[in-house]
């Protein structure tokens, strides 16, 4: 499991996909499933927060050609 302070959109999405795949695989029981579901909620929260950003930041580099 990824530490939250290193979490990126990609890592969060991949981990969530992995958890979903485990559920899809059918090889999951209630004891394992509940903590995984909780982790999934954390990841989803992170993804939603990140994806709620609307603007992109643009930094222009001073090139030699302009």
């Amino acid at each position: 499991m990824t530490k939250d302070n290193e979490l990126t959109l990609s890592k969060a999405f991949d981990e969530l996909e992995k958890i979903t795949a485990e559920f899809e695989g059918g090889d999951i029981d209630l004891e394992k499933g509940v903590p995984k579901f909780k982790r999934g909620l954390e990841l989803a929260k992170f993804l939603k927060e990140k994806l709620s950003k609307i603007e992109n930041e643009i930094e222009e580099i001073k090139s030699n050609f302009l």
Partner: protein, 418 residues
């Protein structure tokens, strides 16, 4: 023979005619050097011509003659500074950028080429095909080297012209799909002679100054083959190939695929399409997250219900088992009762036997015998006298009867006459 005299060492200035000192007689070397000093003032020139003859010497130098309908001129070039020389062939129309000079040794005039570009649609196509063949053989277009792009790029290097339609389209579409992305924009010249050089510099800049760029995007709007020439050069191809970050090309032309398109990791049809391909639609991610959760919830709920059912089932089984046990216990008790009854009977029987024995024992009690008239005699020493020999004359004897004792004095003892 006319003697031409001039003053050496002074660099001619201004547009006026060359001033010569007629007192000075040039040596040939001095003359060639003098002319070169003058030619240097002409600076860089560009000329268009058809290659009438081409010769590569020792793999290092290019000697070429270009001509038009009336004239021809020699062209000299150093191959290492002409990366595109391999596409050149006789009959091809080219643009030559270079400086006029006189070869010191022979006084032969030529254009020293700094850059040679194909000119005209025909030449461009030939050059393009040649370069494609070459780079393909080297493996620059191999599918196996195409790198996957991150699903959520956070740092993007954008390489395109400032204030261009391509720039605006890319930024606009990207914003509509995903926010929170840091874009480093490196403005370049997307056409013209300096274009390829500016593209290479942009790639060098990103690769030398960043370690964590997610990808680079090279884009421009549509144009003719000539307009797009810098995207078809070997320098651009090699810069894309050498990039440590994955490269997406969004060059606005559908008809011909540029070399940049073939080398890059992902080809987009336009700058807008490049933005579409690199940024996952956030709405898609959010809806995927939501559907993942509803799926997981369904599974968990199913597991919970399954567990509840199992518990119910187990309780029922337990109840059933307990009922069965109760039945067994009842049976056991009745069995025990039966046994107890049997035991009771045997006890009763035993007790009756005990009564009999008691009666027998009672009948055996000596007191009962005494009651029947028998007595016990004790000698003076208190011993039971079982024989006349146990009793002495003139001694006291005690006779024990059923209800008392008789103490007597013995006169005489007589043994029985047998």
């Amino acid at each position: 023979m006319a003697v031409y005299r001039a003053e050496l060492g002074s660099v001619p200035k201004g547009d006026g005619p060359l001033k010569t000192n007629m007192e000075k007689i040039f040596t040939v070397s001095e003359f060639n050097e003098f002319i070169n000093v003058y030619l240097n003032q002409v600076g860089e020139v560009a000329l268009e011509g058809e290659i009438s003859q081409i010769n590569i010497s020792q793999g290092k130098w290019l000697f070429m003659t270009v001509k038009d309908e009336n004239s021809s001129v020699e062209v000299f070039g150093v191959l290492s500074s002409l990366p595109n020389y391999s596409f050149l062939e006789e009959g091809m129309l080219v643009h030559i950028y270079g400086v006029p000079r006189l070869y010191q040794k022979t006084g032969r005039f030529s254009i020293s080429a700094l850059q040679i570009l194909p000119a005209g649609e025909g030449s461009l196509k030939i050059a393009l095909e040649k370069l494609k063949d070459k780079l393909e053989k080297e493996g620059l277009f191999d599918e196996s080297r195409k790198r996957p792009l991150p699903m959520f790029p956070q740092k993007i290097g954008l390489i395109t012209a400032k204030n261009s339609q391509a720039y605006h389209d890319f930024i606009k579409v990207l914003k509509a799909r995903m926010g929170g992305i840091k874009i480093f924009f490196y403005p370049i010249q997307v056409q013209g002679r300096e274009s390829a050089k500016s593209i290479v510099e942009a790639f060098d800049f990103f690769n030398n100054n960043f370690s964590d760029m997610d990808l680079l995007v090279l884009c421009r709007g549509g144009g003719s083959l000539e307009d797009l020439q810098s995207f078809n050069t070997e320098e651009t191809a090699r810069a894309i190939y050498a990039s440590k970050f994955p490269v997406v090309c969004g060059i606005g032309h559908e008809k011909d695929i540029s070399i940049a398109d073939m080398v890059c990791d992902l080809r987009a049809s336009t700058p807008s399409n490049a933005a579409e391909l690199i940024a996952t639609q956030k709405d898609y991610v959010l809806s995927k997250v939501s559907s993942d959760f509803s799926f997981m919830y369904t599974i968990l709920n199913g597991l919970k219900n399954q567990r509840i059912n199992t518990v119910h089932k187990n309780i029922m089984l337990l109840e059933k088992a307990l009922n069965l046990k109760a039945d067994n216990i009842k049976a056991l008790i009745s069995k025990l009762n039966f046994k107890f009854e049997k035991f009771g009977l045997s006890v009763k029987y035993a007790l009756s036997k005990v009564g009999e024995s008691e009666r027998l024992l009672q009948s055996l009690d000596y007191k009962n015998v005494l009651k029947r008239g028998f007595s016990i005699t004790y000698n003076q020493e208190g011993q039971i006298a079982r024989s006349v020999d146990n009793i002495k004359s003139n001694s006291k004897i005690t006779t024990s009867l059923y209800d008392g004792k008789i103490i007597s004095l013995v006169e005489e003892t007589r043994p029985s006459q047998l």
